[in-house]
């Protein structure tokens, strides 16, 4: 799930908590988010929201003077994280093929001797 991926992806504990809150509720106002996040103040929450929004991990909607946030499951950051995971997984898959075929060859050699 995209929200789980975002949850895993971000190492900053506060931002991870914000994404966790957003993953549980469809949409939150900035005020609701601040009430849900206890470890830092309102100003810090809003700067973390800005970072998450710039990174494309969350979407922002404005109505009048209120701002609402939600996890952006189709954001470019998600796509990039997914691409990186495929890239690294692919490297390990190729290493598995090479290591196991070398191990087989080694076993054959030993049998031959």
């Amino acid at each position: 799930m995209a929200s789980d991926l975002a949850f895993d992806a971000l190492a900053d504990p506060v931002r991870r908590e914000i994404l966790g809150v957003l993953a549980e509720r469809e949409e939150c106002s900035a005020g609701e988010l601040s009430n849900a996040i206890h470890r830092v103040g309102r100003t810090a929450v809003s700067s973390h929201l800005r970072v998450l929004r710039t990174a494309g991990l969350i979407a922002e909607r404005r109505t009048g003077r209120f701002r609402y946030y939600s996890v952006d499951p189709t954001g470019p950051a998600q796509d990039v994280i997914h691409l990186l995971q495929e890239l690294f997984q692919g490297s390990l898959d190729a290493a598995k093929v090479a290591a196991e075929s070398l191990a087989d060859t080694g076993a054959d050699d030993r049998r031959a001797m």
């Binding site: 971000l10 990174a55 494309g56 796509d79 691409l83 890239l87 898959d93 290493a95």
Partner: protein
């Protein structure tokens, strides 16, 4: 700062020691384990060719930790800064391999742009925005590895001195991917992000194109690195070493070292190498030498076999190697493999510390560079500069060189010029920048015109682990 961690895992039916031994062994074990490194040891430079979206992108870094047979940790510098940790754990008779890669905000943004997404610019309000156009990917990523780190260091120093006209300097970085077309798009992005000046530490191919595309735009464009000149004036300033000065300093000593006077000219096919060769023809003749052959190869070439064969067939005593970055690395490694070192000495005007390091301990000896700066230069200013760089970026940051140091200098020259100018109007700043003098890690640098820079030049012989900076030659 956001820090994204990505992980992957695989179970392999082979013991940890056997799987660990695949790293760097070129055994067809995928792009990561087939890392290119001359040794698996702490500090060794590593290149990974990652198939990113179908195109190989070279990830450059070095080994930060090795604990056989359980852990290898890499620090990556290009195209993003981050860590890459591979753990090999016993799992039954086999191995569980766990890979964790971390990258920061800038790395994530680089990836998004590479995928074609429009990434919103970070607000630069209240700051004096300066662009840095560098090569984070493509051949130039080798020589540019330390450029961003040194730019950050210069900006920190400038801001500690109060910034420019009361505003802090804010750096916005663009990656030309060693491609003039990409460089142009990135230059426009920097302009739209609010940069009224751009420090370009790219090839002249990019600088020339960007200079042309940005005409009519009120942006000051400064080429910081060695270049052929010819575009200075108005809002264009070209700092750095000139080919004729480098060649005059090196031609005589190179013929002495080689014990012969026949030259072969080989370089990348763009404006700077062409100008270098043009100057070399007349200067070699002036010094009583002859040119016995000349070849060019496009930027990004990875097989120089026919070219190296032509060098060997020519009977040359000296090779003038006008390749840059990863092309210079590959060409010199192939020259070494094919026996050129036994027959010729080589002079490479763009040979610097990160490039020498990747050419490697075996292939580098026999190669000379000539530039205004080498990290080995004596002097308290250089010592303080190097220790500050290590303090800021750590022991595994890429080595500094004349190319990356030029970015540091250009930013300081720019800040001094901008402070002397009455306001932030780039025309006035450019006017001030055309005249300046400062003491830098390389020594005293005097700017006297849009493309006239006076500095000392040094000839340096590459060794297995550094440079032997012979003496001040000019």
């Amino acid at each position: 700062m956001a820090y994204v961690a990505v992980s992957a895992e695989q179970r392999i039916d082979a013991p940890p020691a056997a799987v660990f031994a695949l790293f760097g062994a070129d055994a067809g074990a995928g792009w990561l384990f087939d890392a290119t490194c001359d040794r698996v040891a702490v500090g060794a430079a590593v290149t990974l060719r990652a198939p990113l979206g179908g195109h190989p992108v070279e990830l450059l870094g070095r080994i930060a930790a090795v604990r056989p047979p359980s852990t290898i940790e890499l620090r990556l510098d290009q195209p993003w800064r981050g860590t890459l940790r591979v753990r090999f754990e016993p799992a039954g008779a086999g191995t569980r391999v766990r890979l964790t890669a971390g990258l920061d905000d800038d790395g994530l943004r680089w990836m998004m742009r590479r995928r074609g997404y429009r990434v919103p610019a970070e607000p630069t309000g209240g700051a004096h925005a300066v662009g840095l156009l560098t090569s984070k990917s493509g051949s130039g990523s080798v020589f540019s590895a330390a450029s961003e780190g040194l730019a950050a260091m210069a900006v920190e120093e400038i801001n500690a001195e109060g910034g420019i006209h009361g505003q802090p300097v804010r750096l916005v970085v663009g990656d030309d991917a060693t491609d003039p077309a990409v460089g142009t798009l990135e230059a426009w992005r920097l302009v739209h992000a609010g940069c009224r000046s751009i420090m370009a530490a790219t090839t002249s191919a990019t600088f020339e194109r960007v200079s042309n595309e940005l005409r009519g735009c009120a942006t000051l464009l400064v080429q910081t690195v060695m270049n052929e000149g010819g575009l200075g004036g108005g809002l264009r300033v070209q700092l750095g070493e000139r080919p004729a000065d480098q060649l005059r300093a090196a031609i005589g000593p190179m013929m002495d070292a080689a014990g012969g006077r026949r030259w072969f000219l080989a370089g990348n096919d763009y404006v700077w190498p062409h100008v270098v060769h043009g100057k070399a023809r007349s200067l070699v003749a002036e010094h009583g030498g002859t040119v016995v052959g000349e070849r060019f190869a496009h930027l990004g070439t990875r097989d120089f076999t026919p070219l190296v064969e032509a060098v060997l067939a020519s009977g040359a005593d000296v090779v003038l190697s006008s390749f840059v970055g990863a092309d210079l690395v590959t060409f010199e490694r192939q020259c070494h493999e094919m026996g050129v070192r036994a027959r010729c000495r080589s002079l490479a005007l763009a040979l610097d510390e990160p490039t020498r390091e990747r050419i490697g301990a075996a292939a580098a000896p026999g190669l000379w560079g000539v530039a205004g700066y080498f990290a080995e230069l004596p002097g308290a200013t250089n010592a303080a500069f190097l220790s500050r760089y290590r303090e800021m970026h750590g022991p595994f940051a890429p080595p500094v060189s004349t190319i990356s140091e030029s970015v540091y200098e250009a930013l300081h020259l720019y800040a001094a010029a901008a402070r002397r100018a009455p306001d932030d109007d780039p025309v006035g700043v450019a006017r001030e920048l055309r005249h300046g003098r400062a003491d830098f890690p390389r020594g005293t640098v005097t700017v006297d015109g849009p493309e006239t820079v006076a500095q000392r030049l040094y000839l340096a012989e590459a060794t297995a682990d550094g440079f032997l900076v012979s003496h001040q030659v000019r």
